[in-house]
Symmetry: C2
């Protein structure tokens, strides 16, 4: 451990309480969608080709579900619990389409803590203008002030 490490570190298990929450919002741009398509190799025309997508069930282009879900990654990795934790699992349901430029708000709330196993469970929800577009839950392993990384 050193000073820089501690400065960047997120919550320890002893500092977490049920009900704690975090929120991150972002409107994903055309550029974000193209970059994600390239890095993931997911060039599904539902996300890239308006002519194709108009005929599909979404009735037009939508951003990748995993682009919406990336804001959950951001909450877990930077806010709650934040750096130092390990993301053990994620369940998610993609319940409504999201268009390029719509502001996605991801919200996570701690619902269960298991101090002895150093595990925390959060509900994770993404909304667009108050409408749920993704829901699910995350399980994390969280470092301990006393036990450390053992």
């Amino acid at each position: 451990m050193n000073h820089t490490f501690e400065q960047k570190h997120g919550f320890y298990i002893e500092d977490l309480k049920p009900g704690m929450s975090a929120t991150i919002s972002k409107a994903f741009s055309e550029q974000d969608v193209l970059q994600y398509a390239r890095l993931s190799t997911d060039d599904n025309p539902l996300h890239l080709d308006e002519e194709f997508a108009r005929h599909a069930r979404t009735g037009g282009r939508v951003i990748h579900g995993m682009v919406t879900a990336s804001l959950i990654s951001a909450i877990v990795g930077t806010r709650l619990p934040g750096p130092g934790c390990l993301w053990m699992s994620q369940e998610m349901r993609f319940v409504a389409p999201v268009r390029v430029g719509e502001t996605v708000t991801a919200h996570a709330e701690l619902v269960e803590l298991d101090a002895s196993r150093q595990q925390a469970r959060m509900t994770t929800t993404c909304t667009v203008e108050g409408k749920v577009v993704l829901d699910g839950q995350a399980l994390m392993w969280v470092p301990s002030r006393t036990v450390g990384y053992g």
Copy 2:
């Protein structure tokens, strides 16, 4: 429906059978990780800062779990079932770290079909040199040749 749409379209529910599978491999670069950090806003130092990550439980930098999982997005969206399907849900467990430059192989296999509800379930596994780094399952809604998108 038109010709271009049909050309780009993936499988219809009538064409799927349990046991069908698809595989995509990619080695994620430094550039991929930086782009994902920017688009997701997930700038967790575990992925970006070797000095921080050396002190964390991973013992060094790892790529975002969601970058590994992006190959599942690619399989669902481009191979099996491919364009036209809707990804309803995904469960995933992140079971081992992945380093920049390691080749991730994502594999999905159809295990359950519900023709009347137009739903297909796949197991989804990502490995690095044969070792499982992510596992889980995906549920998709799949268009029908006869019912279409109703």
